[in-house]
Point group: C2
Chain length 351, copies 2
């Protein structure tokens, strides 16, 4: 049997004051002129009784939840093999742990996307939403837009719409940097391993477009066979690389849209008896910690994920607190980390 809850009423009785006063004291409400003696009496009573305010009652009375929801629209098996979400969460946690908010993690089922946002918002499960929108349907965006315009705090990771605040990484820029890096090292046939199965709806079309555009700009042949659709996991990168290698004219370089698949690709290349980077260059994306510890060390584009999480959380808090927001849309710049998997150091006689 759980002991009878200690309520603020009991604290009030113990301290010989009204429940109102207890609330004023414990919440440090200003302009109430509570005397120091009373204040101390209340605090002592609360401590003596082991009073813990009832979160559900407080939320109801205040009309606002304590929780910030992190909404994941990504198929959640992928959370596993890709550290992106971990990094984002870490960033969010770093900001929120100093605040009176908790993190509610919400995995969205594909069959009830739009509704969930409403439930979280209207149902007051959360004061605000940080959304990682991997596959937002038009309806989802519409829903978020509506909520956002009605004043409900939302921040998305990646810009979805002008009126929905966002913190993004300039992925197209990052992809471009990677491609230029490969190009400058002499590569003209570049394969791409996308991180989502075709038609899954999670295809990173923007990044693929960047690739296509780059090839056109450089007057390189665009070969659709050079785009393989992986599935976030290292194994899928492995398989994708094998597919690329089995082409009549395999690419001389492979860009994997996440590091984890780049790991798989490198292994596939090496197991095929080829060398990285001499025979095939590999470049990743994300900048996970392990990327420096492959052999050869993986050249990759490091996305500032923790920072992105932090900024998203900070922006959300600003919206919640009605603080003026400097910018509704922040874009972070990813950074190319040159290591050994593309042959840069070989070519430049370094290292």
């Amino acid at each position: 049997m759980i002991k009878k809850r200690v309520t603020s009423k009991m604290v009030a009785k113990q301290a010989g004051v009204s429940q109102t006063t207890v609330s004023f004291v414990l919440n440090k409400v200003e302009g109430q002129n509570i005397s120091p003696e009373t204040t101390e009496r209340v605090i002592k009573a609360a401590r003596d009784l082991g009073y813990v305010p009832d979160a559900t009652a407080r939320m109801l009375a205040r009309g606002v939840s304590d929780n910030v929801a992190l909404v994941l629209t990504r198929p959640h098996e992928a959370v596993l093999s890709d550290e992106f979400v971990s990094y984002i969460m870490t960033g969010i946690a770093k900001v929120l742990r100093k605040e009176p908010y908790r993190i509610l993690v919400e995995f969205i089922d594909e069959d009830m996307q739009g509704q969930t946002y409403f439930n979280l918002a209207q149902g007051k499960e959360a004061v605000g939403l940080i959304v990682i929108p991997y596959n937002p349907s038009a309806r989802d965006i519409e829903t978020m837009k509506t909520l956002s315009e009605e004043g409900f705090p939302i921040t998305t990771l990646g810009k979805l719409h002008d009126t929905i605040n966002s913190v993004s990484t300039a992925d197209e820029q990052g992809i471009q940097d990677a491609l230029i890096h490969l190009y400058n090292l002499g590569h003209r046939s570049i394969g791409v391993i996308s991180y989502a199965p075709q038609d899954s709806g999670f295809t990173p079309q923007g990044r693929l477009d960047t690739y296509e555009q780059f090839m056109m700009e450089k007057n390189l042949p665009f070969n659709p066979n050079y785009i393989i659709h992986g599935a976030f996991t290292p194994e899928s990168g492995y398989q994708a690389a094998l597919q690329l290698l089995s082409l009549d004219q395999p690419p001389t370089a492979i860009l994997a849209l996440n590091d984890v698949m780049a790991f798989g690709a490198m292994t596939a290349i090496q197991e095929s008896g080829l060398k990285v980077p001499e025979d095939v260059a590999v470049i990743g994306y994300d900048g996970i910690l392990l990327a420096r510890y492959t052999s050869p060390a993986l050249t990759t584009v490091e996305a500032p994920n923790i920072e992105q999480g932090k900024l998203a959380a900070k922006m959300l808090l600003d919206i919640i607190d009605n603080k003026p927001i400097e910018s509704r849309h922040i874009t972070l710049t990813p950074e190319l980390i040159i290591r050994d998997s593309c042959g840069y150091h070989l070519k430049h006689n370094k290292k």
Copy 2:
């Protein structure tokens, strides 16, 4: 401005029934003899108005929260470089997504450990706790024990006390398997990279004890210098391996207590001009997906982390629902995955 909330009262009015009836219908309360016509009218009204129940009010009225808290006592920077937490969360999410519970992630600050459990429980932030206890103080354990004995649902990952339900992995067994594997391959001097800084309180003493005991059993010299304390990250594994290699008599094999540090160790060995496994064997622990994609592929002990998360969640739900629990303590068995970083296949002429 957010539109006026749609309350159950408004639904009631619209449907021409009492608010009580609305509650009965929408919650499918049994034994209330609501006619099909009324039921339908209520459902229609709710849908038409876009009614979303207020979670805070419902929780207060029911006296129970909607949330299951995942409590992380690990220093959360480590969440990053180690996939353990991601796996656990995935397991939990797989179970909870079918249930009317949400996941609340709570990072515990070291300076307020004990209190947090109480706050979550007494403050009704959560109906139950799944605790990942990396560094439980005696007081923490006492707190959890008290809560647990009072009937508050708690499941810990790893057994802390007889009266606190738990789902564990037989880590000592796993470590032993790893050591036996190395021993059978002829290794007599085995270094260990622990995953937590010395005196951090996170030191996995049980595993280190297993190591010491193993060495004694096999009549091998126990050299304290062979135990290096890392810090969860690949970089710390790298540094630790360098330290081991710089000893007068470096070990011929290294056991890293997580895979990520094993990655770092392998890189350190290779960069020192030595070969894995010919010169130094490396074995990891965790069984992360990437372990198969190092070169050589990492031999490791795979802990069933997703399963552990799932079982912890299931057990918690059973406690919450007052279902009879088969066992208060479940122990899962880790599995040695033999790949190439210890030379097994070399020795046995396979592959």
